[in-house]
Symmetry: C2
């Protein structure tokens, strides 16, 4: 620890945001186009430095979201994702960045704010496969955020938040398929969802009109932590071979 005379060095602290939403049945991430150096013109996660020394980290995150993407979502729940502090990750000097994750449905179209040349929703596929390169180490941060989101669908009722107030079981299945990037058997999904106690409960609304048999409507149930969990199909690692 430090003694009373020596003064510890201060460090530049930044926040970076992985904001995920569902658009047209595909998972999208919020990106901003950098308006200043370094990486001017490149796409990056929204984020920036702490505004003042006493600012709460999540407050800074909300402020940056409003400033850079004109997205003033007071209620957005931010979850700590990780810390990225390797020396050299930012050409301006030592910057330690705390990354936050938010996942929400129906987020508005972003517009470029101060210091940002642009802002848009981008399909996560293009980011994860490296087709679109991001500034700094933001690709790694984005990948960590998507993996966290996928894991959250397994054990929390988060998926219902992506549907309207009432939804069919097929609607819910589309959410899982979009985030996990796989397709699921509708019949098994149907029973699995219903067996997870308190996940969804019947709604008394009218049935949904479609081109086939109208589906029952449900709404989110009281339980936030799913039991049993909705586990992704296990993918056995390469047959028997050693790993690392």
């Amino acid at each position: 620890m430090t003694d009373d005379l020596w003064t510890p060095p201060a460090v530049l602290l930044a926040v970076d945001l992985v904001i995920l939403t569902l658009r047209e049945s595909r998972l999208h991430i919020l990106l901003v186009e950098r308006g200043v150096e370094p990486y001017k013109g490149a796409w990056a996660l929204p984020g920036g430095f702490l505004g003042h020394a006493e600012e709460d980290l999540t407050a800074a995150a909300h402020r940056e979201l409003a400033e850079e993407a004109a997205m003033d979502v007071e209620s957005l729940h931010l979850e700590h994702l990780n810390v990225y502090g390797a020396p050299g990750r930012d050409p301006r000097g030592r910057v330690v960045s705390v990354a936050y994750l938010a996942i929400a449905p129906g987020l508005p179209e972003p517009t470029a704010g101060t210091d940002a040349a642009g802002a848009r929703w981008q399909s996560t596929d293009q980011v994860l496969c490296g087709e679109l390169e991001l500034a700094f180490d933001h690709q790694k941060i984005a990948a960590d955020g998507v993996e966290r989101a996928r894991a959250k669908l397994e054990r929390s009722s988060l998926a219902t938040a992506f549907c309207g107030p009432t939804f069919t079981i097929t609607d819910l299945q589309r959410v899982y398929e979009a985030v996990w990037g796989i397709s699921l058997d509708p019949r098994n999904f149907y029973r699995k969802v219903q067996k997870s106690g308190g996940f969804i409960v019947a709604a008394d609304a009218d049935r949904k009109v479609t081109s086939g048999r109208p589906a029952r409507l449900f709404k989110a149930g009281p339980r936030k932590d799913l039991y049993p969990a909705m586990l992704r199909p296990a993918q056995p690692p390469d047959t028997k071979g050693p790993e690392r």
Copy 2:
């Protein structure tokens, strides 16, 4: 983001360490007795401020470990745990702390170093139940670390690291029981461990002498990520009731 004229505020960055080991079949955590204010005389996690602005976070963690507990374990693998940055968590001002977790067997007895009045291994039970109070928000950090360790045993081969170069299946079972704080059926554990491909492999050493039938010896296998996983017995949440 910031423009070129404005200078972002700097923040005091600290690291805190949750160091876990197994002693006498019980999980223990490394604590130091604070030698300076605030919380002088109280027990706390080892940790402290960054030494200089370019110091790597894990380097700072290792340095604090050496300084405060005279524990110079070069090879100790530190894993990021979480960030604790609430304003007011430290009476000296705004301090953002990055917590790291290390889990290792056979760590040496600590001795008090600079700035620490004492250092010792403490059973995690007394810390988790609040019997021993820690400085700052360190109880919360410690609890997060223990839970992370428990989860790691499920999907990684970490447990073998707590045994010697060769070990019996019962030895391995003791590790799981100590960290999880429960007891397991030896016969089911036996088969489960062997079915997780690459987890353990037979060693050709002599059998262990005990008061009963000598046990076969094994050594750690090549696989680091277990498949299938060694899941803890699921504890169904309170029967059917809503949650939160």
